[in-house]
Amino acid sequence: MGLLAARRDLLIGLAITAALVVTLLATDEDAALVIGVTTGSAYGLVALGLVLVYKSSGVFNFAQGEFGTVALYVLYLLDFEVGYWWAFAGALVAAGLFGFVTERLVVRPLFDAPRVTLLVATAGVALLAIAVEIWFGSAQGKPIAKAFERVDRVTVLGVQVSDQRLWLIATVVVLAVLLGLFFTRTNLGLAIIAASQEPTATELVGISVRRLSAFTWVLAALLGGLAALIAVPDGGSFGPGIMTSTYLIPAFTGAVLGGMTSLPGAFLGGVLVGIIQSVATSAPLFEDIPGTPSTLVVFVVLLAVLVVRPQGLLGKRA
């Protein structure tokens, strides 16, 4: 099989993206395009964590958003005590810790349980996190500072892209590539894939499946934390459950769109959902939809993908 044929799915995905971009440019939706790509990058980053957990534990992690919200709370608290970057590091550590504890107390005991049971458990973890956030913090939002303040350095297609957003996009791209290489070229990455598909065989070869599970969840939590810490401050404030209410569903849709088994797909899917969402918000076509039009449009996209092409753009056919 030629290189072209092997990468056929990737080409289809890129072709669809290119078509979408061209359509948007042609219809003067430049702003929507740029905004869509930046929000989409955040979704892509969350989606990376979702696909990571799915590839290794076979479950949809509904707590992925809250890994990030907890990091935000820690950043907020520490920022008053130490410098911003120390606070940032501390927040990431907190996210990783949360992921580790979740893996130990929830994922481990449910190792052999049906995946749907584990899914409900992760939803429970998310709710618990939100409840504690409301309890320890308050139900109202709090302000949060950005890492990079400058907004006018770069302008793309007439839209100003802040430094914070540039940082987000750069981080996501780098991470997507690194993780892709990790799972295809490194022994550890291959081991994780093997463990998820054939845990018994993997154990027999001498690899500790349980230790891999812990590593994966910590990594996913770090990704969730990063997503929140870079993307949310751009909006200036945060509140309890913010990642779950604003990022989780679009990220999931993006992951499904990209194909739940593909890491570059997660990134691509996230960006596509960001673009679709931004178009749904601004285009006159969707004006009459009551409430938040983008929610409905994203839902329809999810249904369409599941009905027409369940393996997404880059996933493998089940």
Binding site: P109, P114, G241, F252
Partner: protein
């Protein structure tokens, strides 16, 4: 083995058929006393309480119905809905809408709400039940969000942010009478659920849940069975919504969110899947948690003493307690309250009290699709 030993061995497996157990007279009296106590708690005790408490009790009854409705999907078929609050909420608004905007009676509102609940499930299920459990859960979660952010923003339906009033029916317009009306509806739902499990549809669901391939080989249309369950679940949920609407005499669009979806799932799972007793208790418990915390002396002080930046108020406590109970339940006690209570329920029914009776064993579910 002697003949007697063989008989004992057989009794160990299916004792009821060999030598049926009969309680002693004292045993019967004890059972009657307990049942009388339960009847008193449910039927007599509320009569002496103030109206505001009756509203809470009625909410408990309605939540019990929601738990039963969610169990049809989660317990009998094995699919998870993380958007069930949408079905209940849309039922509530449908009833309020039919009563307020079109001047229909409460009864039309109830039937309309149930029908809309079933119709929603039919449409949503028709599209999304072809996908595996995890994806279906995601679709229901997404649908819940659409309900929250799009459907409940439809001015026509919900009166905007202000919400819609929902009056009680003519003969049941006091809190006490309405409570008994809702109890009657709960009894109806329990009856239909009981009949479901004694009919071919219920057996088909359990077969589909455990092993869809074998079920298909026995002539069961897996898609249709799952869709049927979903529609039934949606119908009950819509009914519960209508009852909740008139209980609160008002429906607001702001309460039907992801948190509520999870509360519903939690109370169903913690109550105990496939156990009617457990489900009713689970639903009632979660509805009454804030009330119970306030009633039990010293409990709210205890909660406030927990070291934390702020006090754990009775309103907040269920939100924290709920997920904890869920996680405990999923990891340690899968059968929930229902399973723990099973020995008592069997005892009440005239059987010997066997603390180790945990009901039917949990069997691993096949992931293969037919």
């Amino acid at each position: 083995m002697t003949v007697d030993e063989r008989a004992d061995a057989r009794e160990g497996q299916s004792g009821e058929r060999q030598r049926p157990f009969r309680p002693s007279p004292a045993g019967w009296v004890a059972r009657a006393v307990v049942l009388a106590g339960v009847a008193w708690l449910v039927l007599v005790f509320p009569l002496s309480r103030p109206a505001t408490e009756l509203v809470d009790f009625t909410t408990a009854v309605c939540y019990a119905i929601v738990a039963l409705s969610l169990n049809v999907l989660v317990g009998y078929v094995g699919q998870i809905s993380l958007g069930h609050q949408a079905f209940v909420g849309i039922g509530a608004f449908t009833s309020a809408y039919l009563m307020t905007v079109h001047g229909h009676s409460f009864w039309v509102g109830v039937v309309g709400a149930a029908a809309v609940g079933g119709a929603q499930a039919l449409v949503l299920g028709g599209v999304s039940l072809r996908v595996r459990g995890l994806y279906f859960a995601l679709v229901t979660l997404s649908y819940g969000l659409v309900a929250e952010q799009n459907i409940f923003q439809i001015q026509e339906l919900t009166g905007g942010g202000a919400g819609r009033p929902a009056p009680k029916p003519d003969w049941f317009d006091t809190e006490w009478r309405y409570y008994f009306l809702c109890l009657a509806f709960l009894a109806l739902v329990l009856y239909v659920d009981w009949r479901l499990m004694r009919s071919k549809s219920g057996r088909a669901l359990l077969a589909v849940r455990e092993n869809p391939r074998v079920a298909a080989t026995l002539g069961i249309d897996v898609r249709l069975a799952t869709l049927f369950a979903f529609v039934l679940s949606g119908t009950f949920a819509g009914l519960a919504g209508a009852l909740i609407a008139s209980n609160d005499t008002f429906v607001s669009p702001n309460v039907w969110n992801f948190n509520l979806a999870l509360v519903f799932v939690i109370m169903t799972v913690v109550g105990g899947l496939r156990s009617r007793t457990g489900l009713v208790i689970g639903g009632a418990l979660f509805a009454l948690l804030p009330y119970l915390i306030e009633q039990i002396p010293g409990l709210d002080d205890l909660l406030a003493d927990i070291p934390a930046p702020r006090d754990l108020t009775p309103e907040l406590a269920p939100l924290v307690l709920g997920p904890l109970l869920l996680l405990l339940n999923l990891t340690v006690l899968p059968g929930g309250i229902g399973q723990q209570l099973r020995p008592f329920v069997r005892w009440l029914g005239g059987r010997r009290f066997d603390p180790r009776d945990r009901g039917l064993k949990e069997v691993p579910i096949s992931d293969a699709r037919a």
